[in-house]
């Protein structure tokens, strides 16, 4: 358990929290970009260790949450086709499209399979030459290299029955969109450590400079997060706005160059629609023309599907950080993990689901029960 338990130490966590309390003199709003960070914050109760002045705003970095409903509908249409094996990461299965989710399509007989790696889907394509195998390639820069590798391998193997339904999204344009919004309240950014392990953080100094916000590359364990928050608070209090790396055991300035080369071979930048937010220019990746033959949207001609979002769902405001999940009128009533109106209530990284599962503590106060033993 090396590199895990030492980053979950209770005493050190209390010390970092004490440093944050000592440094804070006024209210600050800090956004953790990545859904994995949101999950860890709520699950470990990190927010409860912070002084009231420090407000954490949950960012748009949950891949499941921002995948547009139109793409979910395309996935549902493709998965329902006879002869198709539709492969997906597990937490996409319950994300609602316009009318239903992949579980519902599976229950009607579609061959929908959960895989742990896109390379598993390539293997399935090799093993099932008479079937069309489609992989739902979503996610940020973190999942993209493995998807690029799958595309590369499928091309190399000459597989004609493998394709990718791609909806990759990029973190820096999303940060830019958040910070340039007229309603923006975010004063500092905790950048997503795993995205940076692939991409490095050379893209961030211009953002920090332009918006005059401190950006701290931050990991996911409790001590990583507390250290990231501490550095952000220290900069905010000092009035500086530089980029810091609080996750050096995984992240370098340049990032993972071989992975970046693989990405550049397979993908090109495109405009991308973000669920609940809208289209952000140059905020996604699509397959390059050389790889267009394995683009599932082309292969299965699913261009003209009409998609509609639930009018009650305000996940866009949640993803932009202008609404807390429990401030949404539908939260916990019309919208629960059992009957999600938006993707943020589905994914374990989604801010609404995180609040639903763990966050009702907010109403409980912080008084501790005392066990007799």
């Amino acid at each position: 358990m090396k590199y895990l338990t030492e980053f979950r130490d209770g005493d050190l966590a209390q010390r970092l929290a004490a440093e944050i309390r000592a440094a804070v003199t006024r209210p600050w709003a800090i956004m953790e970009v990545c859904g994995g960070q949101t999950h860890s914050i709520i699950r470990n109760g990190i927010d409860q260790l912070l002084p009231a002045e420090v407000e954490l705003i949950h960012g748009p970095g949950c891949p499941v949450c921002v995948t547009p409903v139109s793409l979910i509908d395309k996935a549902l249409a493709i998965a329902a086709l006879p002869g198709v094996i539709f492969c997906s990461f597990g937490d996409m299965l319950r994300v609602p499209g316009t009318r239903e989710d992949l579980f519902a399509v599976k229950a009607r007989g579609a061959d929908v399979r959960v895989v742990y790696s896109p390379l598993d889907a390539v293997r399935l394509a090799k093993e099932n030459p008479s079937r069309q195998v489609v992989f739902f390639a979503i996610g940020f820069e973190t999942t993209a290299p493995a998807n690029a590798m799958a595309a590369h391998q499928a091309k190399r193997l000459g597989l004609t029955n493998f394709s990718l339904l791609v909806s990759h999204v990029l973190v820096p344009p999303a940060i830019e969109a958040v910070l340039s919004s007229p309603t923006n309240r975010v004063q500092s950014i905790l950048a997503a450590g795993h995205v940076c392990s692939v991409m490095g953080y050379y893209q961030y100094p211009p953002l920090a400079e332009r918006f005059r916000v401190p950006i701290v590359v931050t990991g996911f364990e409790p001590l990583d997060l507390l250290d990231g928050i501490r550095r952000a608070v220290l900069q905010l209090e000092a009035g500086t706005h530089v980029v810091e790396n609080a996750y050096p055991r995984a992240v370098t300035f340049e990032g993972n160059r071989p992975a970046q080369a693989m990405l550049a071979e397979v993908f090109e930048v495109c405009d991308r629609e973000w669920r609940g937010i809208g289209t952000i220019p140059a905020s996604g990746w699509r397959l390059k023309s050389e790889y267009r033959r394995i683009d599932a949207e082309e292969r299965f001609a699913v261009h003209d599907i009409r998609s509609v979002e639930s009018p009650l769902c305000r996940s866009g405001e949640v993803l932009r950080g202008t609404l807390k999940p429990n401030q949404c009128p539908a939260f916990g009533s019309a919208c629960t993990p059992r009957t999600p109106l938006g993707a943020t209530m589905v994914s374990s990284e989604g801010a609404c689901a995180a609040y639903f599962h763990y966050g009702r503590l907010i109403a409980l106060g912080t008084e501790r029960a005392t066990c007799p033993t």
Partner: protein, 351 residues
Amino acid sequence: MPDLNPDGWTCPLPLRDYPHIVMGHGGGGKLSAELVEHLFLPAFRNEALARLGDAAVLPPVAGRLAFTTDSYVVRPLFFPGGCVGDLAVNGTVNDLAMCGAKPLYLSAGFILEEGLPLAELGRIVDRMAAAARAAGVAIVCGDTKVVDRGHGDGCYITTAGVGVVPDGVNVGIERAKLGDVVVVSGPVGNHGVAILCVREGLEFETRITSDTAALNGLVADMLSACPDLRAMRDPTRGGLAATLNEIAAASHVGIEIDEPAVPIDDEVRAACDLLGLDPLLVANEGKLVAVVPAGSAEILLATMRRHPLGTRAAVIGCMTDKHSKLVVARTAIGGRRIVSTSMGEQLPRIC
């Protein structure tokens, strides 16, 4: 069909003419009879079953009857640490034991898929017989049906169980009271993670094995050491989180647990971290949660730790009036979170 030579059969025994289950094995005719006579009877061997009546007729018992049933569906049929047969016996035995009952008799209903290798069925039945012997119960009646190939995962088993609750024993999940202490009998999450690893081809340095086991021996020791035991439940599907929530809801109390006190094996924790699963929500097949008055906790813990299935028993929390019907965990870093039940199956996270 050649004449049968009963002396030529052994157990577990592939019937000579059909190395696989065929539809006829569920037809009630000769093939069904062969299966019973040469596979089930020799393995389960007991007087009540050997009479092959329409029902097992059993001697009178002293005390209240406990009666339960459960169906066992698992893919793959064999996994590290056990098979569907072990689960079918241990699971039902444990359901009886959790009510304070001494398990006595089981029934076994098999739904077999056409094409299941008879040798595999033999191994499953053998494991059931061994598990029943270990738990001190008899499998006294049964049934077999066969479904077309493609309409079942090889072998489904339904067991029902009867046990007797001795006078003076009163346990129930609605009996937990403020100040009571929660004990878990050992590390959680092993069964669910073992199944997931073998199903998905995930490998770790140490092989994670299922914890399937019959807990009635442990329970008997616990009840004799602590007659004031209030509640027990085995945290199977839904894991520890589901069981604690059920106790909190049934007893109208809050439960506070100390998360670092919950025993979890390193490999299980690592696998859960990797897959984005919460070990508190992962299934167990050989663990129990007990609620006991605080004053009896020490003696209960000592008793459990003397039993092979309770060596790592630990106090993990207590009943509180601070948040009725909610389970709250104090995290390792001193924060708190609500431990809620999962929506169904946990879905592995994307990254």
